[in-house]
Structure formats: C-alpha cells, structure tokens
C-alpha cells in the first residue's frame, strides 16, 4: 500500500466513483456488472468514462450477476485484468462462480457494496455479508482475499491493492464495502494512472501457438486423490497469504476496553473512543483491514486479564466469532450490533463501554 503513487491534489468523490476511477487508472481491461443499489454508480461511471478515455477497455452490462461472474471467469481465464461489482443479493447470486474462480486460480477483483438483508432487505448500509465473504460463500473449501475499506480513499487504494494481491496469489480478491462507504463523498488522492502494470500470464487461454501445450482452465478433477492435491495446494496458498494480514491499531497499549470493528463501524468506534477518553476511560480500537486473512495474531497478543473486548458490527454478530477465536478465552468478548441498515452511533457505543467498565470493575483503574 505504501508503494502506491497518488496524485498530489485531492478530489471530492463518492466512494463508488472513486473505486471506478481507480479501476480505470489501474489498467483494468474488462468490467462486467449488473445494476443494484447502492453500487450502481460503478457501472454508470465506467460506461460514461471508459469510452472517452480507454476505448479498448471492455465495459459490459450483463444480463445478470450470474452472467457477470462467468464473464469474469472467461476474461480472467484469458489473462485480462478483470472486475465485477455488486451489492448483497447480487453478490449472493455470484457465489457458484466465485467458487469456480477460486478453484481455477483466476485472479480478479470483486466488489460487494453491502446493503441490509436478509432477502431483498434494504438498500441501506450493512455488514451482514461478512460470513459469506470470509468463510467461503460458495461451495467447497476455498477462500478469497477480503479487504474492508472505511473511506473513499481506501475505495480507490484497495482497487490497486486488490489486483496486486489477486495477481500475486492467483486468486480472487474482494473489496467488502458497505452502502455508506460507497455513497459518501470525501476527499481522495487518486492513485496515478498506469502505476500498476499488467502482464498476461503464461497459463492464460490466449490461443495455443505451435510448440506449447494447450492451456486449459478447469476446476474439475474426477480422481479424489487429484482433487485432494488441488485442495492441499489451495490451503498451502492460503497459509502463505497470512503474511498479507493488515490492520490498524489505535491506543491499544493501555486500553481497558478494546473495540474491534471493520469498515464504516471502525470509524464510528474511533469517535466512541474519543468520547470515552473525554470521560477518562482508556479505550483502544483494532481495525482489521484484511478480513481474510484475518489478523488473529495481533488480537491474540492483545488479549489478557483486566481487559475486555467489544466488537461492533452492522450485523447480528459475525466477525465477533473470529475475535473470540483470537482472544481464546483470555478476555471477555462482547458484541454490539445494529442490523437491517441501521448504523450504530458513537453515543450508544460509549454507553456500552461504560457499562462494561462498570461490570468488570475497570472504572476505578481508569478514572484516576
């Protein structure tokens, strides 16, 4: 992320538009998508800008998300830098394709600007697709890289980061955003055009020249021992991916209460932390940036006596399961969530922090 070259002057942009603009600048070769709120600006922005600026780049409105993800499969298999974006119901529809992409080791960039569910749900922001994103989503044992932006800046940056990781590890990368990050306008220092060069991989199906064996992209392995080998290879890759874990820590060193949150909720937690500090409470925040690979080790290292964890999410409690796994009983882990498109507010989180400090007798230590 540090190597990213950015413009010196910022622009004011919507998250979805910053993401689309970054894709153009990241030498995207093909985009396939289907409209759904709250991410339709991505397709709209690309259909407006790409013909003017990069006429050789493919932007196609598909007949469905099922078609989109399988077009991604075809284009990615042919070696192109390719992307699709959607929101929760549409991303659900893509899951068979994501499993094929992971199994066939096709790099690609996926975007889910989450909305509230289940079902048709609401178009308001939510984080209810955490399990789907980090635990598989489709069938079989696979994972994809999951990056969780919490700003318009990161909507742009993670396009570059997502493609870089996807291509390095030959697997899909997902930007798991939410309707708020997608829709809000903020200052963004756009990444510079052409700063992520792309080369067509040797394994791509581009036509078989004389003298090379044919290339084929498949996820079918009828012999169980071969299928197990493929699985072992994937698991090995996921182990190697752990070195890409990314997170942010705020004031965790002396904290009595540690908030854990990703994406938009992490920003709300930063605000709650400030409010708590004004009251003399020592509160820290851990913000996982890669949700897969999940930063278990750093959370584990923070767990211990006289400390409680509070996970805040816009769902019924999904990432909290990974926090509990990391903490492994060394500290109590609590959860505060809003669902269905409701956004937790900092004051409510503060009340929760105060109640926990009281309950665990952390108040006397902190208010000195």
């Amino acid at each position: 992320m540090s190597t990213l070259q950015r413009e010196e002057t910022p622009k004011l942009m919507k998250g979805n538009e910053a993401l689309a603009e970054a894709a153009i600048r990241a030498d995207m070769q093909a985009y396939f998508g289907y409209p759904i709120t709250p991410q339709s600006e991505v397709l709209e922005y690309l259909t407006e800008e790409v013909p003017k600026r990069k006429p050789n780049t493919v932007v196609l409105q598909a007949e469905s998300e099922v078609a989109s993800i399988n077009m991604v499969y075809g284009a990615g298999g042919a070696g192109a830098r390719v992307m699709t974006s959607s929101s929760s119901p549409g991303f659900s529809l893509m899951q068979e394709g994501v499993s094929y992409l992971a199994a066939s080791e096709i790099p690609c960039l996926l975007v889910n600007v989450q909305r509230g569910g289940p079902g048709l749900g609401t178009i308001q922001p939510a984080q209810g697709d955490y399990f789907q994103a980090v635990k598989g989503g489709g069938h079989g044992d696979y994972h994809i890289i999951v990056l969780a932006p919490n700003s318009v800046q990161e909507m742009a940056d993670f396009v570059f980061e997502g493609w870089r990781l996807a291509e390095e590890y030959r697997m899909p990368a997902l930007i798991l955003a939410d309707g708020a990050v997608g829709q809000m306008m903020e200052k963004v220092y756009l990444p510079k055009d052409g700063s992520l060069p792309h080369q067509t991989a040797a394994w791509a199906t581009t036509g078989k020249p004389k003298g090379r064996d044919r290339n084929f992209i498949t996820s079918l392995h009828m012999e169980p021992d071969k299928m197990e080998q493929v699985n072992l290879h994937l698991q090995d890759k996921y182990r190697k991916l752990r070195k890409e874990e990314r997170y942010e820590l705020f004031n965790v060193k002396d904290a009595d209460v540690i908030l854990v949150a990703f994406g938009l909720t992490a920003r709300i937690c930063n605000k709650a932390q400030q409010l708590a500090a004004e009251k003399g409470l020592r509160v820290g925040v851990v913000r996982p940036i890669t949700l897969y690979p999940f930063p278990y080790d750093i959370i584990a290292s923070l767990a211990g006596p006289n400390r409680v964890f509070l996970t805040v999410e816009m769902n019924a409690g999904q990432m909290v399961e990974d926090v509990r796994l990391a903490v492994n009983g060394k500290s109590p882990v609590y959860f505060r969530g809003r669902m269905g498109g409701m956004i937790p507010n900092p004051e409510d989180i503060l009340l929760e922090i105060e109640a926990l400090a009281e309950k665990h007798n952390l108040v006397n230590q902190t208010v000195r």
């Binding site: 070769q29 093909a30 396939f32 493919v58 196609l60 598909a62 007949e63 469905s64 099922v66 078609a67 399988n70 077009m71 991604v72 499969y73 075809g74 284009a75 990615g76 298999g77 042919a78 070696g79 192109a80 390719v82 068979e96 394709g97 094929y100 199906t205 581009t206 036509g207 078989k208 020249p209 004389k210 044919r214 290339n215 084929f216 992209i217 498949t218 996820s219 079918l220």
Partner: protein
C-alpha cells in the same frame, strides 16, 4: 502382421487439434464425432493458435481433454457467458462454446439468449440429444413429448412439464444471430454438411458478423437405452420431425 504404409495412399489422419487422450464417450455417441469434425475444421483453416474454446458441464465436460486448443471449462449453463468474457478481451481470436441441451437450453437459457442478442462474435455449438446424458438420463428441455426418461418415467407430458424447446428457432429471431443452422453427425453426408456449416461460422466470426449458432441433433444410446444403430434410427424417425435438420437463418452470402 507385417504392416507397412509403403505404396499406400493416406486417406485419413487424426488432426493435431485432437489430443492422444482416448475419449470416454459411450459407443455410438455423437459427441465424439462432433468433437472431431469441429477440430478438423480448426486444423484445416489453420487457426489453432488463434482459437479458444469453452466446454460445458455435461457429458462433454472433458472436451478440453480431447480438443488440443486452449480451452476453459465453464460452470453449468454459463459457457456462452465465459465465451463472451474471452471474446471481449481477445476480439481477434476465434472463440467457440460447446454445450448440451440442458446446459444451453435449460440452466443457461438467459445466457444463451443474451449472448446471441448481443451478437457476440462467437460460434455456439449446441448438442441436442434430448436428454441429460451426464447425470444419468433425466428429462431435458428438448426431450420429446411422451419421451420416457428417469425423471419423466411415464413420458413427458407437455401440459405439466412444458413442450420440447426449440431453442434454435427461438434465437434465430434475434438480430444478433447471423447464421443459425441445425445439423447432425449420424451419416457421412451429414458430417460433410456440418463441416461446411462450422467453416462458414468461423469465417463469419473473422468478419465480426454476429453469433453463429450450430445445433447438432444427436443421440444418447445409453440414456435412450438403445443400441447405437437403434438410437440413430430413432433419432431420424422421432427427433428429426420435431427438430428438422437444415438452415434456419442464412445470411445472403450463403443463399
């Protein structure tokens, strides 16, 4: 036996576009012949290095094991979407999809219609054997009225199971369809006609004319529970009246 080719005339050779892998198809199945004819055309046209194929999920799921060209194996029903992805990023290459009736005309109906409607410059080869071969003989969208399959054990009843779908006629109405034809592979004469249709399709693709759609009415001796000869006979007597071979939409240059 003392074998020598000296003084003999070479009349047939396996094209380099087929691998050495023995095909797994049942005796008498049309898939093997269809593969061979398609690959012969690619070799004869000298376009191997510029061709990318997409295999379906169905009996021909392993097409990439036999076809010695760059290939992708797509999800069930999505071969034409994957082929769209390939073609859009490699517009100068020849791209084909190869799909069964369940794949193309049931689960992949939306992709089929929209691929043709966009006039994707690809060749879609559609093997219609009236049954789901791979999964063991279930009813297909193209199973004939009254046809007994493992999921229509009393025969296909159109009032509750729908009528056999004429996908080829359906897509022929779309402006994106350039050349639409129905062929077969059960006789030498049929094979010659199919070859011509496939060759014309690749030539049209080079000129970016739109989608070429070649249905091959085929058989499924195992699924139909017949010998290969009975199956071909049954196909001519029962499939052909409903799915008559011949051109359905012909561009002026061919008329």
């Amino acid at each position: 036996m003392n074998t020598t080719t000296e003084g003999m005339e070479l009349v047939y050779e396996k094209p380099d576009t087929l691998t050495e892998t023995p095909m797994h198809y049942c005796p008498g199945c049309g898939h093997g012949v269809a593969h061979k004819v398609l690959m012969e055309v690619i070799e004869e046209m000298g376009i191997t290095q510029d061709t990318v194929g997409v295999a379906p999920v169905g009996c021909s799921v392993f097409a990439y094991m036999y076809m010695n060209v760059d290939m992708q194996e797509a999800a069930h029903g999505r071969a034409s979407a994957a082929a769209t992805g390939v073609k859009r990023v490699l517009p100068e290459k020849y791209v084909f999809s190869y799909q069964g009736d369940g794949d193309l005309a049931a689960i992949g109906t939306a992709e089929t219609i929209h691929t043709v409607n966009r006039g994707e410059n690809i060749l879609m080869v559609f093997i219609n054997n009236g049954i789901y071969g791979m999964t063991g003989g279930q009813m297909a969208p193209t199973s004939l009225e009254g046809m007994k399959t493992s999921t229509s054990p009393y025969g296909r009843e159109c009032s509750t199971m729908g009528s056999p779908l004429k996908m080829t006629e359906l897509i022929a109405h779309l402006p994106g369809a350039y050349y639409v034809t129905r062929q077969s592979v059960h006789t030498a004469a049929a094979v010659r006609k199919l070859k011509k249709a496939l060759k014309f399709s690749f030539e049209a693709q080079k000129q970016k004319k739109g989608t070429c759609f070649v249905e091959i009415v085929s058989n499924c001796p195992s699924g139909w529970k017949m010998t290969p000869l009975e199956a071909n006979d049954w196909m001519e007597k029962n499939m052909f009246p409903y799915f008559p071979p011949g051109d359905i939409k012909v561009p002026n240059e061919l008329k």
